[in-house]
């Protein structure tokens, strides 16, 4: 794999994806072997939006590789508050760190920032755009649990604004996957994502109800429908309620269905699923560490 920056799942080929996932599997099997690999390396964290798990996961990954992090802190306490441009911020911080991780509320922010720096930059979410490291850990989890051959996957919830969905849908065009998109009509995939899927020759199968497709799924990827996408509370409750699952819902599913969620969840997956064989979302979150270790290791090695 030779990429200076990781901006979008679209830039990753099947070979790139397999290389990262294989390396992640090696690391997960023997993490001790990598404990000193990047001693002295500093990862710069620029999070312009609140994030718990992505930030902690990158921090853990860098420390498990023997390195450390430098953190911009919250936007409120930084020079951004004084009106500094993103281009200036990253040009300053690249002097402090060997690689950068950027989370920013605006679409295209990582792409733009990457044009101003020489150290590798990883997009950790740009508005409703892309979140490629989430996609890699999702793919890792899918490969471990269901495999990439003749895979039937349902992606459900907010498909319009959910960046994890946009990244994942594109990445899945690299493998033998039948993708089903389950959402209310108002939250279907945006035009730019459809365009890409069509360009890749993928068939977009859309459903408004999970029942239509649940029995054939190997993986069900659930995302949160957010209150602010709806004009009023009652409409939100009515729509969101149709896309919540519990153990009763899953009675119609295959026994070996894998249920995933990028987390945090609110009530779209009932707690009575947590202790079943279906629940894979915590394992999925944990996979973020070896996958990000693998990616950082490969990026840092390639840019040394």
């Amino acid at each position: 794999m030779r990429h200076d920056h990781i901006i979008s799942a679209k830039q990753l080929s099947r070979a790139d994806i397999e290389a990262v996932l294989d390396h992640a599997a090696d690391i997960a099997a023997d993490p001790e072997a990598y404990a000193e690999r990047h001693a002295g390396t500093l990862l710069g964290l620029l999070f312009f939006e609140p994030s718990t798990r992505t930030k902690m996961s990158f921090t853990t990954a860098m420390k498990r590789l023997g390195g450390d992090i430098v953190d911009m802190g919250s936007v409120e306490s930084s020079s951004v508050k004084k009106g500094e441009s993103l281009a200036d911020t990253v040009r300053v911080v690249e002097g402090y760190a060997d690689a950068l991780v950027l989370r920013h509320p605006m679409e295209g922010s990582s792409k733009m920032a990457s044009e101003f720096v020489d150290v590798p930059l990883v997009n950790a979410g740009d508005g409703a755009g892309q979140h490629p490291t989430q996609t890699l850990l999702d793919l890792y989890t899918i490969r471990e649990n269901a495999g990439f051959d003749d895979l039937s996957i349902g992606i459900m919830g907010d498909l319009k604004y959910g960046r994890t969905v946009h990244s994942l849908a594109h990445a899945l065009t690299n493998v033998d996957a039948h993708q089903h998109f389950i959402s209310p009509e108002s939250l279907q995939l945006p035009r730019s994502v459809r365009y890409d899927l069509h360009q890749e020759g993928a068939e977009v199968r859309e459903h408004t109800e999970l029942d239509e497709v649940l029995p054939e799924l190997d993986v069900l990827y659930v995302t949160r429908i957010q209150r602010e996408r709806f004009p009023d509370e009652s409409e939100y409750r009515e729509v969101a309620g149709q896309y919540q699952i519990d153990s009763e819902t899953l009675a119609a599913a295959k026994d070996d269905l894998t249920v995933m969620h990028p987390l945090p969840r609110v009530d779209e997956i009932a707690h009575d699923i947590d202790d079943t064989e279906y629940a894979t979302y915590f394992e999925q979150a944990h996979n973020g560490v070896p996958v990000r270790m693998a990616l950082l290791d490969m990026l840092l090695e390639a840019n040394e």
């Binding site: 441009s85 993103l86 509320p105 605006m106 295209g108 792409k111 740009d126 508005g127 730019s192 365009y195």
Partner: protein, 155 residues
């Protein structure tokens, strides 16, 4: 049609640009791309929906005292792919060229996505890749299919 008729409709210009073979009905959009609204005082002639062997109907725009920049030609090509550009100096056509569809247009269009980083006060120009049936923001990937002139950046 005699030469006199032609003369009455669209007068010759001394120095400037004649854009011919514009897709019928697009002349006003071409003027918008060129930022011409008549207030500068230079003479501008517009002929719309003229019979054309090649296009059925075509528009013609003549602008006194202006030669087009590459950016203007690039956006022009998106709404008038068959257009030809004649540069006139001292009443003579000194250069004649067909427009070519570019692969990228930079610094001319504004991304309609208000949450796109290219619309912020950052040191980058907007950049759009030309795709099958429109243009696509290189930053946020928003696709514009219709009404390109409405997205031209204000000067």
């Amino acid at each position: 049609m005699t030469d006199d008729d032609q003369q009455l409709r669209v007068s010759k210009i001394r120095n400037g640009t004649v854009i011919d073979h514009i897709t019928g009905g697009q002349a006003l959009n071409v003027l918008a791309i060129l930022g011409i609204d008549g207030t500068s005082g230079d003479s501008v002639s517009v002929a719309m929906n003229m019979p054309s062997d090649r296009l059925g109907k075509k528009d013609i725009v003549k602008v006194e005292g202006k030669e087009l920049s590459q950016n203007e030609v690039d956006v022009l090509s998106l709404i008038a792919p068959a257009a030809s550009i004649n540069i006139v100096r001292d009443f003579e056509v000194v250069e004649k060229a067909r427009v070519e569809r570019p692969s990228m247009v930079e610094g001319v269009l504004e991304c309609p996505n208000h949450n796109c980083i290219s619309t912020e006060d950052e040191p980058v120009k907007s950049r759009f890749a030309v795709v099958d049936d429109g243009v696509r923001c290189e930053y946020c990937e928003t696709i514009i299919r219709d009404n390109l002139p409405a997205h031209i950046l204000a000067e």
